[in-house]
Amino acid sequence: MHDLRHHGLVHYALKRGGKIQPITLPKDLTGETGIMNPSIFIHNGKVLMNVRHVNYTLYHSEGKKFPHTWGPLQYLHPENDISLTTHNIMTELDYDFNVVSASRIKMNLDTGEPTWNFIGLEDGRLFSWDDRLFLCGVRRDAYDDQGTGRMEMCEIEYIDNEWQEIGRHPIPAPGKDDTFCEKNWMPIIDMPWHFVKWCNPVEIVKYDIDTRTTTTVVHDQEKTYKLPRDLRGGTQVYPIGEGRRMTFTHEVDLTRDAFSRKDGHYNHRIVVWDEDWNMVHHTQDFHFMGTQIDPTTGYEYNIEFATGMTFLNGEVIVAFGYQDNGTFLLRMPEKLFFDFVARG
């Protein structure tokens, strides 16, 4: 079995005919800080990808030989600015996935001062429902001064030669909407206004854009599967035939070093549901780019996050962020991809 932890899925794919493609964006647009958590989607024949651009550069000493003074995992934003600011950069790619254009989405509906220092729409997944293009992520700068977050659908359109926000739809949590921070809901591409809110047990919710209310459609505690960690949302959810749907999920180990300084580790997994939202299959957990493993403790340390995927010309394209600092596309022939999924 291929070592998906040390070497990663990208290594696995390249050895079998897959491709890895780096995405770079102009310095003028990014100031050389992190570009991450890309979400790719094909809309009206155009290959679009939203890239999250942050005002920090992650410092993560995976091997722990060179931790930052403040710890092995640090979000290094400007020292005179405590905010963690996200901008969304919309890129258009050609069919070889080269960047043709890139520009910051103009958030027309930003009003007033942010109420929290996590500013902007984070980890937006790109998709369309009823031919309307949305970016759906979490926003924490608009509800209170405690950082309470809500999923938010940001409707975007290309107007006057720029990408602009034309609608903003904060999505309440189902019920009393009394949870603290909702994030990583995954839009179901073939089920307009539905999200996979949680994976294990699966919870499907429906958002009513007219009444601005959310209701739970599926939530069966019996559909809880024995897995080492919670499954959190990743990419969009795609139909793959025979009533089945699939997605990339992620899992997190949050750890502390000897001085109680935070550290973290992300895994991914591909999950397949049947038409009744039974999890009929999942892969083993894996990394995209491999990781370093502490030989004494077995701990792994890797920050990656896949928030978008698509299918094009017989390939599966997965967009992922690496260490919050880089953006990549993994291209796998569909057969290779589904062989991998099937192999588990």
Binding site: L14, T24, E32, P78, Q323
Partner: protein, 398 residues
């Protein structure tokens, strides 16, 4: 190149050198964030201190480009130094970093530390610049000025740095003395003389002692009359002559300096107001003349009055250095002195000796009855508004 480097890394993800090569590609493309991740990964993967050092420097420079992350930039460079204190690149970048915050003692510490080790030519030059800059800002004294003078006139610098050094020297102004630095300057001296190779340093402010010895080809046992002798060594024009066996009479109106002179020198010093001395009696008493090899008159505004009191009919001087300070007092005194000395047959060999190229303050004369005309021609400087003393003595390039 990025694509190739990426694939190479992915196929051998535990190889720190391939990871480093990919980091460099990102760095080159000004994709600082991703370069940071890869440099850090390469450093973590490697056990090679040299590679780890390069990674930490790379991380520092990437964060530096992102601005306002000084604590991290500093930390990464300190990590590099901890790996190998004898490598100089991180010291150099820390100099640059601390310069931005005017932390001059840290700049000086890193510059001086790095200068103890081998480095590239460019880095060496940059470190010398930082040494000078920090020394100046810490002390605001002559040592900083001397270092800048050396940078501009004694070291070969790449053009941009040379320009920076010139601008800084002009801003802080030249040091109050330009010493002869023995071996360092020997090869550039235009006028060599017997025994110059034994001189490790001189004492004059601006090569007056070297001029006298040059004209006399290192003569031993010469004589002087030094009016306005000042300190027996600091900026003194006869201390070096004394080492060549010369003797003479020195005059100064400072009791403290005369006391020091008596304590430390082997010749006569007279503590008196040089504008009131009876020079005829003095010459008789001390058997001065009929020829004295060197006359110095260095008494600021009073120099012209003193010149008028010298009984030139009784004594002829081979070389005269006369302070007129025309850069601050105007040319009247200078011109008057020249008229007097021309009438006495002295020839103006180095007019308007300057301590910069725009600050003339002395004239240097030679009498053809004492010094051979061929020698006078050899020492003749052009009739410029200012003959910068360094240019007069030194060849332009090493």
């Amino acid at each position: 190149m990025l694509q190739t480097a990426l694939e190479t890394h992915v196929m051998d993800p535990k190889n720190p050198h391939k990871c480093f090569a990919l980091a460099q590609e990102y760095d080159y493309l000004e994709q600082g964030a991703m370069a940071v991740s890869l440099y850090l990964k390469a450093a973590d993967l490697s056990d090679d201190k040299n590679l780890q050092y390069d990674c930490m420097v790379g991380i520092a420079l990437c964060y530096d480009r992102q601005r306002d992350r000084g604590y991290t930039v500093e930390g990464a460079l300190l990590d590099a130094i901890a790996l190998d204190p004898t490598r100089t690149t991180a010291h150099y970048y820390l100099c640059k970093f601390y310069e931005g915050g005017s932390q001059w003692k840290k700049v000086l510490m890193h510059a001086n530390t790095a200068l103890q080790f081998e480095q590239s030519d460019k880095e060496y030059q940059d470190l010398l610049y930082y040494q000078a800059l920090a020394t100046w800002y810490i002390c605001g004294q002559q040592n900083g000025k001397h270092l800048f003078f050396d940078l501009v006139y004694r070291h070969s610098l790449y053009p941009e740095l040379k320009q920076k050094a010139i601008e800084k020297l002009n801003q802080i102004f030249y040091p109050d003395t330009i010493p002869y630095n023995g071996i360092e300057d020997y090869e550039r001296m235009k006028h060599l003389f017997q025994g110059i190779e034994t001189i490790e340093k001189n004492y004059s402010k601006h090569f007056q002692d070297m001029f006298v010895l040059s004209v006399y080809n290192g003569k031993e046992g010469g004589s002087w009359l030094e009016i306005g002798s000042g300190d027996p060594f600091v900026h003194n024009n006869t201390a070096l002559l004394e080492q060549f066996g010369w003797s003479g009479i020195s005059i100064d109106n400072s009791e403290a300096l005369c006391y020091k002179f008596k304590e430390n020198r082997n010749n006569t010093v007279i503590c008196a107001d040089a504008t009131e001395i009876g020079y005829v009696d003095l010459f008789e008493k001390h058997l001065v003349g009929p020829v004295v090899d060197y006359l110095q008159i260095d008494c600021d505004e009073a120099s012209i009055d003193i010149l008028k009191r010298i009984p030139f009919n009784e004594v002829k001087f081979g070389v005269i250095t006369f302070e007129h300070d025309s850069y601050r007092l105007g040319g009247k005194r200078r011109d008057e002195a020249r008229q007097i000395l021309f009438q006495l047959g002295y020839e103006l060999v180095v007019p308007n000796v300057g301590f910069t190229d725009i600050h003339p303050y002395e004239d240097w004369f030679i009498h053809p009855d004492v010094i051979d005309r061929d020698i006078i021609r050899k020492f003749q400087a052009p009739p410029r508004e200012c003959n910068f003393v360094w240019d007069y003595f030194m060849e332009a390039e090493k």
